[in-house]
């Protein structure tokens, strides 16, 4: 994976010094809160309900065990012994002191990490497929493009005061695990007519109060033209995106107002000029970055290649294998998902001990590498098949072997009103109650793939628009109320869920979800997943069961 050189290191070190200076000026009164606020946000520092919150970037979701131990140490030293993995491959700490924030950034810089541009009206932490580099069918490792974008977007002088935040995601597989069509820019790496990798560029997707699935704006952009095209897109947005209304300031509103064709034409005109202005990356630099993502040295021992692996007579292990392991591009290896969704737990939270444990297991079983998913789970990307049972046994001891990846209890939830200053309702307790309701693992496995996503307000950090079942918390005359949406998807078949009907109380929404699941089980055809069934029958049968007068 990518290693900082002296320049990268100097950039993050300098940033720490700059932020230390800014914090000192704020505490002394030289900087007002109005002027300091965008500066602290550029370093991932929010003021939330209980304290400051620090959001740390995990670029394209890749972490070393050493970096994970630093994240664990920060939780212990500066916070309350835990962190929260978010829906954008970041980790958040909830109890941060402003005066200590520069020290945390320094600790992060020492392991080649940062909180740069994890908030504010800038190009945010770039995300990628969490199976990057190991997915069987990917065109090429999307982290190469993602790292190029990370560097290009870091302290971009033209695009650091955009109309609104700007999120970029990259995928390179026909299966989209990065929700690229819900990003401001989504890049899908595809093959051009000659079979060489090229970029399909989707622009103007997003959730929030006006959800859009991004239209394709540029088909098969040559790889060498990436940065000039991004510069052109961002410039059109920076100049013409709305600045008069925060709710209409995202690029999706501009794309929608102009229409995708006209927006594409404006970007194209701008790009024909930017591409002559020496903005594209020098080829030797692309090659340098690419080299960091060469596959590690995999073993080819017979035990790993054998079809029969130890432990498969244990049904609990088999259940875990079926949901929490995926095919790896190297023979004899598997990709392992570590669920951060224990029954009744807080989705995405991990304690210092758990983070350290995962770091140790990564060293023993996964070449020291960890991934963070936008679904708030962790991945060990390189596990030898012969060692899967040993790993599972250790995960079980640590309480990290829940066999629910992709199932009804693998719920995405934003922090909600328990932590967030913007929220209208709590999200986490709803996730916990649903999880408890479906605690029975056999039942979960028989229901099959089902993605529930919960947001505590219209900003949709919990991706409720993209949930097979989406839940949106609202404040109705001082009471928490929950709307249910059906039929959303954040995958390659991206779609926006539609509201089912009147909302439910906190208790009622758990019953309602169970009714929806039971309805699906009754009406599904053999082998038909939840989302396919909803698309086949529509909302009608679910509405009937939910709102039937008794």
């Amino acid at each position: 994976m990518y290693q900082y050189d002296a320049y990268d290191q100097a950039m993050v070190d300098t940033r720490v010094a700059e932020f230390r200076d800014q914090v000192a000026r704020r505490l002394s009164g030289a900087l007002s809160e109005e002027h300091f606020r965008p500066l602290r946000l550029l370093n991932g520092l929010y003021l939330q309900l209980h304290a400051y919150m620090l959001r740390v970037a995990i670029p394209y979701g890749t972490l070393t065990s050493r970096q994970m131990r630093t994240l664990a140490d920060i939780a212990e030293k500066y916070d309350r012994g835990y962190g929260h993995f978010t829906t954008r491959q970041n980790i958040q700490y909830n109890w941060i002191k402003l005066e200590q924030a520069p020290d945390i950034l320094a600790d992060l810089a020492a392991v080649q990490m940062h909180a740069i541009q994890t908030s504010g009206n800038v190009i945010r932490n770039v995300t990628a497929d969490h199976f990057a580099g190991v997915a069987k069918d990917e065109v090429e490792d999307p982290r190469i493009a993602a790292e190029i974008i990370r560097q290009w977007s870091t302290f971009h002088p033209e695009f650091s005061f955009l109309p609104r935040k700007f999120k970029i995601a990259v995928t390179a597989d026909t299966k989209d695990r990065a929700a690229v069509k819900f990003h401001d820019i989504g890049i899908a790496i595809v093959k051009d007519a000659k079979g060489a990798p090229a970029y399909d560029v989707y622009v103007g997707g997003g959730m929030g109060r006006t959800p859009f699935v991004a239209p394709l704006i540029k088909s098969k952009l040559p790889k060498t033209e990436l940065l000039s095209y991004l510069d052109a897109t961002l410039r059109v947005y920076n100049r013409y995106g709305r600045r008069d209304n925060i709710y209409k300031a995202r690029i999706k509103i501009l794309v929608d107002a102009l229409g995708p064709e006209e927006f594409a034409r404006q970007v194209e005109d701008e790009w024909q000029l930017t591409r002559q202005e020496h903005i594209n990356l020098p080829p030797e630099e692309e090659a340098r970055i690419r080299a960091f993502f060469a596959p590690p040295a995999y073993t080819t021992e017979a035990a790993d290649l054998a079809a029969n692996m130890p432990g498969t007579n244990d049904p609990a292990f088999r259940a875990w294998l079926s949901t929490n392991t995926h095919a790896h591009k190297a023979a004899g290896y598997s990709i392992v998902t570590i669920s951060l969704k224990p029954i009744g737990g807080i989705p995405g939270d991990a304690s210092t001990a758990e983070m350290n444990r995962v770091a140790d297991l990564a060293d023993t079983y996964s070449l020291g590498e960890i991934r963070v998913t936008h679904e708030q789970n962790l991945i060990l990307p390189h596990v030898r098949r012969s060692q899967l049972h040993a790993l599972w046994t250790e995960l079980k001891t640590a309480g990290l072997a829940v066999a629910n990846a992709g199932l009804v209890t693998d719920i995405i939830a934003c922090p909600g009103l328990d932590y967030c200053a913007l929220a209208n309702a709590r999200s986490i307790p709803i996730a916990q109650r649903i999880s408890e309701r479906f605690a029975d693992l056999d039942r979960q496995h028989s229901v099959g793939e089902l993605k529930i996503k919960i947001s505590g307000c219209i900003n949709a950090c919990g991706h409720h628009h993209a949930g097979h079942i989406g839940i949106l918390g609202v404040d109705r005359k001082g009471e928490e109320f929950y709307q249910i949406l059906l039929g959303g998807s954040g995958a390659e078949d991206a779609s926006i869920g539609t509201i089912l009907g009147p909302g439910f109380s906190a208790d009622g929404v758990v019953d309602a979800v169970e009714t929806i699941v039971n309805t699906y089980v009754d009406l599904r055809q053999p082998g038909e997943p939840f989302l396919a069934a909803v698309r086949r029958v529509g909302n009608g049968p679910f509405k009937e069961r939910l709102y039937a007068r008794v």
Binding site: S28, E33, N94, I346
Partner: protein, 98 residues
Amino acid sequence: MSKEFAKIITANRLQDGAVVFLTSEGAWAESTQAAAVARTPDDETRLLTLAAASVKACRVVDPNAIDVSALNTREPARLRERIRQVGPTVRPDLARAI
């Protein structure tokens, strides 16, 4: 909930972000116990003026007047403010004393 006028002033402390409440002397306490209670809109204005001075002096940010129960002024009316007062409902182990 009584409709009688009762408000206290809350903010976050600048240095560490902690939730604090304005006392009648213009100090900031971590508990609602010592919070000054405005019983009239004039009281509220006076307390918010005190709070504004604290903002200028770089002691707190985002001061706000919040409704509390007239009978028990240590009980904020809105769920959001009760969560700010006590801590996340999903982590009772981290609960603050009110």
